[in-house]
């Protein structure tokens, strides 16, 4: 019953039709039953989950329960959970047990959420298919031979398969929205600075965002309401007041002007994706939205900008994995430098090494201006594109990904082909604006995602439009095909 999502489960819990313990047992059972096929979880935390569920049942009985109380959730393994091994799906962090909990995760726990386990992702969140996990790829619940997207692929698969009601994800180049699209769930990336990054294992600090994968738009609003807000432990988190996101959900689409960026509908997008997204835009128009054509002229440069800035920041952030402070070591190395070389060679997977190399090169003397500063300037142009577009519309609507879920192994030999799958999600990360992916139907039996992007701090409008679209359909209750027989 976890596929009912947060809002409906909370109603059932409040009416005492089900207990937090029963929901948690169902979650753990469903992980047991399905994860041999999906591999969404790196590890489960049954004792912690049942203990938390017990406390949630007590708070529900006492009438003091928080909005997420008793509802099973999963945590992407780049977010620290105190006393539970956290690896970022990397061998270099194998055995690392963090002594503290990420602020966003702590806020969910403070509101009663039940942590059932840590989900697999691309190593250090670097990837678009979850095939870069050092502990094996995750399968898509809609077709076990296909990827769930990435890097939050374990979280997406776990929510799609009803193993949990919702999951934490992180988005640096599309890592919440793209797997949400490919796995048929909702994925929300808030404005940069809206959610704390404290306790998030850093990949690219100016691009990393914490958000969630859920069954419904209302559920995404519930999670954001809890995890958003200033955190003194993250100096980039904003002191702005947090809006009431629930209030915007039922306002409807009428009166909103939606911009359709023409650069997101060009040669290269799969026919089935374009048909589903164009159909959704027509429905929004019929429901009262005004639809206008807009241009984001630097869209095509997004991937190139990203693949300079993100690796540059990563090469700096990942310098800390030296075999001295945590995780893997090389005890028989003769010198400290030999230890660095060996730990980092043995501990990092191929894609992480590739990005450290690109980033180090882009930051090295003689190339810094040509690559890194050039990319930072081009990033300004992408940001300005959005600012200009939002002068003539309230929101942008477009596809989340140019393709549906692709077969496992299809792009692993061609890093550039994998990078280009993020062409429609990277720009919102470069500009730091809020964006959401919602299911908008199937193409050949595989989910397609519809993306809304809004101006900074306007999560309320993004959620309002997404909720309005969602209310016209019943995609969220569909069972993924590959699990229907399970």
């Amino acid at each position: 019953m976890l596929e009912q999502g947060i809002v409906r489960l909370r109603e059932a819990l409040t009416r005492r039709e089900v207990s937090a313990r029963e929901l948690t047992e169902e979650s753990l059972r469903r992980i047991d039953d399905l994860d041999g096929k999906l591999h969404a979880f790196l590890r489960t935390t049954p004792e912690l989950a049942l203990r938390t569920a017990g406390a949630a049942d007590a708070s529900l009985a006492a009438g003091t329960a928080g909005p997420l109380a008793g509802i099973p959730m999963a945590i992407k393994d780049v977010l620290c959970l105190q006393d539970v091994e956290t690896t970022a799906s990397s061998k270099i962090l194998q055995g690392f047990v963090p002594p503290y909990t990420a602020t966003t995760v702590q806020r969910a726990l403070d509101n009663g959420a039940v942590p059932v386990g840590k989900t697999a992702c691309d190593e250090f969140a670097m990837g678009s298919s979850t095939e870069n996990s050092a502990f094996g790829p995750v399968s898509n619940p809609w077709d076990l031979g296909r990827v769930p997207g990435g890097s939050s692929g374990g979280s997406a698969a776990a929510v799609a398969a009803g193993q949990v009601a919702w999951a934490f994800g992180t988005d640096t180049g599309g890592s919440i929205r793209q797997p949400a699209a490919l796995s048929g769930v909702v994925g929300l990336k808030p404005t940069y600075g809206r959610t704390s990054r404290y306790g998030l294992i850093a990949f690219a600090s100016s691009l990393d965002h914490v958000g969630c994968l859920t069954r419904t738009v209302a559920d995404a609003a519930e999670v954001l309401q809890v995890i958003a807000g200033h955190d003194a432990l993250d100096s980039t988190s904003s002191p702005r007041a947090v809006d009431n996101y629930r209030e915007s959900l039922d306002v409807g689409i009428s009166g909103l002007r939606l911009g359709v960026p023409r650069e997101y509908f060009i040669e290269g997008i799969e026919k089935g994706v374009e048909t589903a997204v164009r159909g959704a835009i027509s429905e929004l128009q019929e429901a009262g939205a005004e639809v206008v054509d807009v241009s984001l002229p630097h869209t095509a440069y997004g991937v190139a900008i990203y693949y300079i800035i993100a690796p540059a920041e990563a090469s700096s952030n990942l310098a800390r994995y030296d075999g001295v402070r945590f995780g893997r070591s090389a005890p028989d190395a003769r010198s400290v430098v030999e230890q660095y070389l060996r730990v980092r060679a043995e501990g990092f997977g191929p894609e992480v090494r590739r990005r450290i190399m690109i980033g180090t090169y882009a930051l090295s003397s003689g190339y810094y201006d040509a690559y890194y500063v050039k990319a930072q300037k081009a990033r300004t142009l992408v940001k300005q594109d959005f600012e200009n577009a939002f002068r003539s519309c309230d929101l942008l609507v477009c596809p989340t990904s140019p393709t549906v879920a692709f077969p496992l192994g299809a792009k692993t030999q061609d890093p550039l082909a994998m990078y280009l799958n993020d062409v429609f999600t990277i720009p919102a990360d470069l500009a730091g604006i809020p964006a959401i992916s919602v299911p908008c139907g199937l193409s050949d039996g595989l989910p397609v995602g519809l993306q809304f992007m809004g101006p900074s701090w306007r999560e309320d409008v993004v959620l309002r439009a997404a909720a309005a679209y969602e209310s016209m359909h019943d995609w969220m209750t569909e069972t993924p095909r590959a699990l229907a027989a399970a």
């Binding site: 980039t236 945590f326 995780g327 690559y371 050039k374 300037k377 142009l381 940001k383 799958n421």
Partner: protein, 138 residues
């Protein structure tokens, strides 16, 4: 070859971007090398070795070879940014609206040394223990 049958990576590759107006191809506004530097050159094996050394990344000879090709392709792709004229554009280092965030210089609760180093492979009395660096200093 019909456009739909060309793999997306090929359609997006710089060589095709230059030769056609293919999918996602940037409509370059500048004349190339606007900042006076040519991007997208081939990375030689000794450069790969040098960068790996800067990154303290042990690589086998086979990996050096493979990276020389792979990284060159990626650098060639990101080199398309040279088509943009950015002479008058300021760089964006961060997109938040905060600057110079400070806190009061007051000691608050923290993990403590023992807990902070608890995950270290080699530790002693609240400290990280590292191998001698002397030999490397020469």
């Amino acid at each position: 070859m019909r456009p739909e049958s060309i793999p997306i990576a090929q359609r997006l590759s710089p060589s095709r971007v230059r030769s056609t107006k293919g999918a996602f191809s940037p409509q370059g506004s500048g004349g190339g090398g606007a900042d006076g530097t040519f991007l997208g050159m081939k990375l030689a094996a000794d450069q790969v070795r040098y960068v790996a050394q800067l990154a303290r990344l042990g690589l086998s000879d086979a990996e050096m070879e493979a990276y020389s090709d792979e990284l060159s392709k990626i650098l060639d792709y990101v080199g398309q940014l040279s088509q943009l004229n950015t002479d008058a554009i300021p760089p964006t280092a961060q997109v938040g609206d905060l600057h110079d965030v400070m806190r009061d210089d007051v000691v608050g609760p923290s993990l403590g040394a023992e807990v902070a180093v608890a995950g270290a492979p080699d530790r002693d009395d609240g400290y990280f223990r590292v191998k001698a660096m002397q030999d490397e200093m020469a």
